[in-house]
């Protein structure tokens, strides 16, 4: 088990490093001049200014060297020269072109909102999806079952941002059911924190739950055909206990696998959600940074954080797997 985790952490680190290299490569080997965005920021960008910036930022150095400097900043303090000099404490992810703040400081500000949103939404759609799917499997073939499948298909076929936008316009603005949809730090108290996130959670949770409902329904129907389910019934167990104790435990395993694979999708969902509900999180921050002029240090930081989250989520899923299924030994 420990051997497995160590091995996985090592391969995870490799994935994160490769991702950051890839982003670097895209940015610096791409067609546009990397100094251009910074140059564009303040007034007219003259060729002289561009040359000065290129020199100061070290953009004329080989990409590998720039990457090495960037990567070294993760473990030690460095000074960033963007015309003016900025101190950047380790872990240094660079200085934002836009705000001239340390990216790591901004990141510390933004991530709680995103994490709250993602985890809350994920719990909501897992619970709702699996519960509905299990209930549908229990009554499979009935009108309720077919109704659920149909509604789920309809919701899945509407793009997520349309649902989110409509929810925001009507539920928040027009009808005022959820007047406040913004992030309040947990330190302000659980009440405001949860209240502000309620509508985003619901939108994220409900729309994503539909595919989980259908998937867990399918898994459950399959599981209910297994021999050990018949054994459980033949013991004299109540139907609900057969389904929820014997059936669900087996049916949930593939659902968790899908959940791990879907995690990237969930992060995309939070980007939209933050954008639409005006939540100050990593997603919105990253999207802003992508607008011209591109704020490269912020983009690199969001991609890095995204990769780390996905890698950790998958590791957790694998560990969860071995907890649920005793046959899985993490070796």
């Amino acid at each position: 088990m420990i051997g497995f985790i160590v091995r996985r952490l090592m391969s995870s680190a490799l994935v994160v490093v490769l991702t950051s290299m890839f982003v670097f490569a895209l940015f610096f080997l791409g067609p546009s001049d990397p100094a251009r965005p910074l140059c564009d920021l303040n007034g007219r960008c003259t060729p002289e200014r561009l040359a000065v910036l290129t020199e100061a930022m070290g953009f004329d150095e080989p990409v590998t060297e720039q990457y090495a400097i960037w990567a070294k900043g993760l473990v030690s303090d460095r000074t960033v020269d963007m015309g003016a000099k900025y101190d950047c404490d380790a872990p240094c992810l660079g200085i934002s072109y836009g705000s001239r703040e340390e990216v790591s400081t901004e990141l510390k500000d933004k991530y709680p909102a995103t994490i709250s949103l993602a985890i809350g939404g994920a719990i909501l759609y897992l619970v709702i999806g699996v519960t509905l799917g299990t209930l549908a499997a229990k009554v499979r073939g009935t009108l309720a079952d077919r109704g659920l499948v149909t509604v789920s298909l309809v919701i899945s076929s509407i793009p997520y941002y349309v649902v989110a936008l409509l929810a925001w316009i009507y539920l928040s603005l027009e009808w005022g059911i959820f007047p406040d949809t913004s992030y309040h730090a947990l330190t302000d108290g659980i009440g405001p924190w949860a209240y502000g996130l309620l509508l985003p959670w619901l939108v994220l949770g409900l729309t994503n739950s539909t595919s989980y409902a259908r998937f867990s329904r399918g898994q459950m129907v399959e599981t209910l055909g297994e021999d050990y389910i018949r054994t459980a019934t033949a013991k004299g167990l109540k139907n609900n206990r057969v389904i929820f104790k014997h059936g669900l435990r087996a049916a949930i395993v593939p659902v968790i696998t899908i959940f791990g694979l879907d995690f990237a999708y969930l992060l995309v969902g939070t980007v939209f959600t933050e954008q639409i509900f005006d939540i100050d999180g990593i997603g919105r921050w990253g999207i802003r940074a992508l607008r011209a002029p591109v704020d490269f240090p912020v983009v690199a930081a969001t991609v890095l954080v995204g990769a780390i989250i996905i890698v950790i989520a998958n590791l957790l899923v694998d560990i969860l797997y071995s907890v649920i299924d005793p046959r899985v030994r993490l070796t």
């Binding site: 051997g3 497995f4 160590v6 091995r7 030994r329 070796t331």
Partner: protein
């Protein structure tokens, strides 16, 4: 549709000269060890599953050898080694004088048509999206046995040979019953006119009444085309019916090999005796009482860490010191009878002195006797015309017993 008895065609290949005397396949000291990986940070191979650990046997041209044993004994692995679905760890497999164990995949290619396989499960071994014509015709096309425009004719012929309606070539496997599917598998295996068919549990997934149809078909096919069979099955009755010669495997080794009459009526290895005694016998029970059953305690040991010496000793009622120290050689004790047991003999007539001491050159505790030599060629396939019978071995061994 009613399945009819196969009416084998004669025009596929001549009935073949009756050359049963010579050997088609000789397997010598064949081994297959599967690695077991460690769970540490660096995954090393820490052990081996000794699935097949030194088996030797011969299959005569046009003859059949049965391979029986319980799950995990290595019989299926042996079949897969011979068809080179697995690569052997060690040993030789002489097919018509050529060692196919040493051939690369590319070199093996032309020989694939000579050695074909029939699988157990007629449901999963046929691609459900291919028609029967494609399934049976593919080997013909791949090996370019017949021109492309003649493939269909040949497929029809083959379907007829195995007792299917030749006009059903454009149907899919799911339109056939289990027995019919197994016939399709047989037709596919026959397409290339193989010299050796490895049949791995060919009837055990079928209903009783269908089993007999398929067994009869296999017998017809064998006689008609002079195909040699390695018939792997756990059903001792079916194997006895099909194979004049039978080998019994236990935990990766052959413990006894003999003509069927000897093996089934006068087994000399305790495991063979126990195995046979466990088979329920309808006729015996019907006319009163069952045969004496020899109960075997416990389970087969793990092939990762098999017992030292004789692998059966942990469950054997006759085991002595020597059984833990010396691996019993597969000793020829009759014109067509070999057995690997230090105390070989019919039940109730075994002696106190091991019978293997003369070839092993050791005393009855399994310790080497100074001056005595160990026989060299203990892993030869097939039978030798000159051999010592059990009494001779016993007498010669007695001289070494107390030294």
């Amino acid at each position: 549709m009613t399945e009819t008895q196969a009416q084998p065609h004669t025009n596929l290949r001549g009935t073949g000269a009756d050359n049963k005397g010579d050997t088609l396949l000789e397997v010598i000291d064949l081994k297959k060890h599967f690695p077991v990986k460690s769970s540490g940070i660096i995954r090393r191979t820490v052990a081996h599953v000794q699935a097949v650990d030194g088996v030797s046997f011969a299959v005569p041209r046009g003859g059949s050898l049965g391979l029986v044993g319980e799950s995990g004994c290595g019989k299926s692995t042996t079949g897969r080694l011979i068809t080179r679905l697995y690569d052997p760890t060690a040993g030789r497999m002489m097919f018509e004088g050529q060692d196919i164990a040493a051939l690369s995949r590319r070199q093996m290619l032309p020989l694939r048509s000579e050695i074909q396989m029939i699988f157990q499960d007629p449901y999963s071994s046929l691609n459900p999206r291919h028609t029967v014509g494609t399934i049976v015709g593919t080997p013909l096309r791949v090996h370019k046995v017949v021109p492309d425009d003649k493939v269909l004719d040949r497929v029809r012929e083959l379907l007829e040979v195995v007792g299917l309606n030749p006009e059903h070539y454009n149907r899919y496997p799911n339109e056939f019953s289990g027995g019919q599917r197994q016939r399709i598998g047989i037709a596919r295996a026959l397409a290339l006119q193989p010299k050796l068919l490895v049949a791995d549990e060919p009837v055990s997934a079928l209903d009783v009444s269908i089993q007999a149809q398929v067994v009869n078909l296999l017998q017809d096919v064998q006689r008609e085309f002079n195909i040699a069979f390695l018939f792997i099955a756990h059903d001792l009755a079916v194997v006895r019916h099909f194979c004049p010669e039978v080998a019994v495997m236990y935990l990766g080794k052959i413990v006894e090999i003999a003509d069927r009459e000897t093996l089934y009526s006068r087994p000399h290895h305790p495991y063979t005796q126990a195995l046979l005694s466990a088979v329920p016998d309808v006729k015996q029970a019907a006319i009163g009482g069952r045969r004496e059953r020899i109960p075997l305690e416990g389970d087969v040991p793990s092939p990762v860490n098999p017992p030292s010496g004789c692998r059966f000793r942990t469950r054997c009622w006759m085991a002595q010191d020597i059984c833990a120290k010396q691996v019993p050689p597969l000793l020829q004790i009759g014109p067509r009878h070999k057995v690997a047991c230090h105390f070989a003999g019919e039940r109730g007539s075994t002696g106190a002195v091991p019978v293997t001491l003369d070839v092993l050159g050791c005393n009855s505790h399994g310790d080497p006797v100074p001056g005595a030599t160990r026989a060299a060629d203990l892993e030869t396939p097939g039978y030798s015309p000159d051999f010592d019978d059990l009494e001779t071995h016993r007498r010669k061994s007695a001289e070494l017993a107390d030294r």
